[in-house]
Assembly symmetry: C2
Homo-oligomer: 404 residues x 2
């Protein structure tokens, strides 16, 4: 398994592009992305658990119900959610892809991110489909990655190479993280492509399992968006024997997917709205996986802990507090806590009570950009990690103050 | 039912005082409070659900297990939590009350708020018990209210007068809200006194029911403290026939308690850390009480909504989003939302979709200090309210930046 470049175009047979079509007012910001596979691909997706679901999600769900897709279209600047005509517009976007590429509308994954509650005008999309498809390229991943950004400060791409049945396979992805355009909410979108041959059922199984330990363990601000979606297209062009059951090949595929998704989680967390730090909380020694996950996620979601990390304050009381109210079945009198970064590691709490430590060294460790919060809750066999970011003035500014 | 002055000393036979004993470094800040009833009182309490519980809570729980108490001692500046000797110190505090007042240590409610994980030195408390008890007064509520403050910006007192069985009864309370002293977490303490005669069992029943609609519907930042506690002492000195069962008298008592607790909830929410606005979210038309409460609390807890309110931004998408991920069983296509303040009311969402509204008028409404978020989710019979505050730069400053 090695990291390679190329993002969503790293896998054989995937082209991508991104253009500015005019949904966003800023002419320097791309707002329309297209990813196309040379051949039909197995498709899998997971969606937000929010009861309010964006119209594009509903259309995508229907389109990939048969386990195949060949293209992804995504706009930023408007989430096409909570509108009377959302479904129609999302279907029309798929229709535009069919018209421009010949790929059936029912084989298109459609996504939108941005303002909710404002009708999405399809005209600028229609007018730029020619430009979008003519510019499709096997090196177009960055364009697509840029076109799905909202308040993300960096574009997010990653790709890996791995071997299945003697064949070299590639898998790549692009993502957008927490973004906000009035009046909207954080929205995470991830599009993954691979040339590995895998059946739709096994692809969905891999994705559904993977996200329980990756994207579902990620929190920027505790708000679950209406438009969150992760999709994978697998076009089989690597030439390996199709993965149709569990076994070594599936394990390698899962490993590749997990490498990709953890990397994207970390990138999204570190680029959370207003964030200055990436936080990774790892809980070990739990008696159940559920307890480890619940405790880790509770710590990463605590506003008090997040604010303390912004201030590089070794406030372990907030870690204990967040474990205590998490609902996780742990013995709080056995909890150890330490903080770690590139500058070193410092233990701050042992058996649920404070221990003497150097505030100066703790400060130095916590001033770094990536902080690990390490928690041992006993001698059990389970562990889990969760990812998040600090709570900063800029988070408040982006989400409260940006119109004044 | 009418509002009266006197706080925790409004009820007959309750004295209080607060002094600076030296747990807090700032000499102008009181840090030790005492409330004493002239006669033994029925006692009830509710405690944090955090698995990490402050030592004083455990001692209080034991002391009032028999349903009676006669005094409350509370210090600020140190939470006496996560320390090896916490229980002993809390018991010693009760012992000091016995020595100074003659009230049995086992009849004392003990509470602490402030830093956690640092051993509480009992010496300054012991040295100031004489001053504390000598200063006890039937007009001493404000002193006590001030002594339990941490980062609260205002002291919190309220009292009401009501009639039970022809006798005039009084009930009063003091509270402290979200406060932070390194390294600590938000802590809410509420002490209520009444001269109404009521059995311990009915007192506990009243309190346990009341908090499900009041303090349990309050959120400053989503973090549940280790030291939260609400206690009521009822000394019977109003001379009414003791309330020992449900009925009209109990209903009047519940009403008085509810008036008091809702007022304290609103005061605590409005004085949340860094808050500039009090938010009250009311959900009506739900099919179950649970759905109404879950939806209201989810909205009040949303960081995105809280930041939007700080910016006076009529961002109804965040309201819908928070309802959608709350887990409440509601039909999101039937949700109406409006915002209301002293400046008027404006509808912003109807049947789950945006409606045209004047951004200018919305802004004017949302620039007020008290905002009602009104949500109708259908035609069901249940409603619920929750209280919170906006998310501001100062919240981040208080909790992240205050040591740098």
């Amino acid at each position: 398994m090695k990291l390679i470049s190329g993002g969503v175009c790293a896998a054989k047979g995937f082209k991508a592009n991104g253009v500015h079509c005019g949904i966003r007012k800023n002419h320097t910001k791309k707002d329309l992305a297209l990813i196309v596979s040379d051949v039909p691909a197995a498709a899998a997706a997971v969606y937000t658990t929010n009861l309010v679901k964006g119209a594009p999600l509903l259309v995508t769900k229907e389109n990939i119900a048969n386990g195949t897709a060949q293209a992804v279209i995504c706009n930023s600047g408007n989430a096409n959610t909570c509108n009377w005509n959302g479904i129609q517009i999302a279907q029309d976007m798929c229709g535009l892809v069919e018209k421009a590429t010949g790929i059936a509308a029912s084989d298109v994954v459609v996504a939108s991110t941005g303002v909710i509650g404002q009708v999405l005008d399809i005209t600028p999309i229609a007018e730029h489909m020619a430009e979008l498809t003519e510019g499709l390229s096997y090196e177009g991943s960055l364009n697509a990655a840029q076109a799905i950004m909202t308040t993300d400060t960096i574009s997010k791409e990653i790709a890996v190479e791995f071997t299945v049945g003697g064949k070299t396979c590639r898998m790549g992805g692009i993502a957008k993280g927490s973004g906000m355009i009035h009046p909207n909410m954080a929205t995470m979108l991830v599009f993954i492509t691979t040339d590995c041959a895998i059946s739709p059922a096994m692809l969905q199984k891999a994705l559904s399992h993977d996200i329980t330990n990756t994207f579902n363990m990620l929190s920027i601000d505790g708000d679950t968006s209406t438009n969150d979606m992760v999709t994978v297209l697998a076009n089989g062009m690597a030439g390996n024997a199709e993965i149709t059951c569990e076994g070594d090949d599936f394990a390698v595929f899962m490993k590749a997917l997990n490498t990709l998704t953890i990397s994207l989680c970390r990138t999204i967390a570190g680029d959370g709205e207003g964030a200055t730090k990436l936080l990774e909380c790892t809980v070990t020694g739990a008696d159940t996986l559920e307890a480890a996950k619940t405790a880790a996620k509770s710590v990463i979601c605590s506003s008090l802990l997040k604010a303390a990390m912004f201030g590089a304050d070794a406030n372990w009381g907030r870690v204990l507090c967040a474990i205590g109210y998490s609902g996780a079945d742990v013995d709080v009198s056995k909890v150890d806590v330490s903080f770690r970064s590139a500058k070193g590691e410092i233990a701050v709490c042992k058996d649920g009570a404070g221990i003497p430590f150097s505030e100066e060294i703790a400060k130095e460790i916590l001033l770094e950009k990536e902080i690990d919060i390490l928690i041992s809750v006993g001698n059990g066999p389970y562990s889990a990690s969760a990812w998040g970011c600090d709570l900063t003035y800029d988070y408040v500014k982006i989400n409260g103050d940006y119109r004044t």
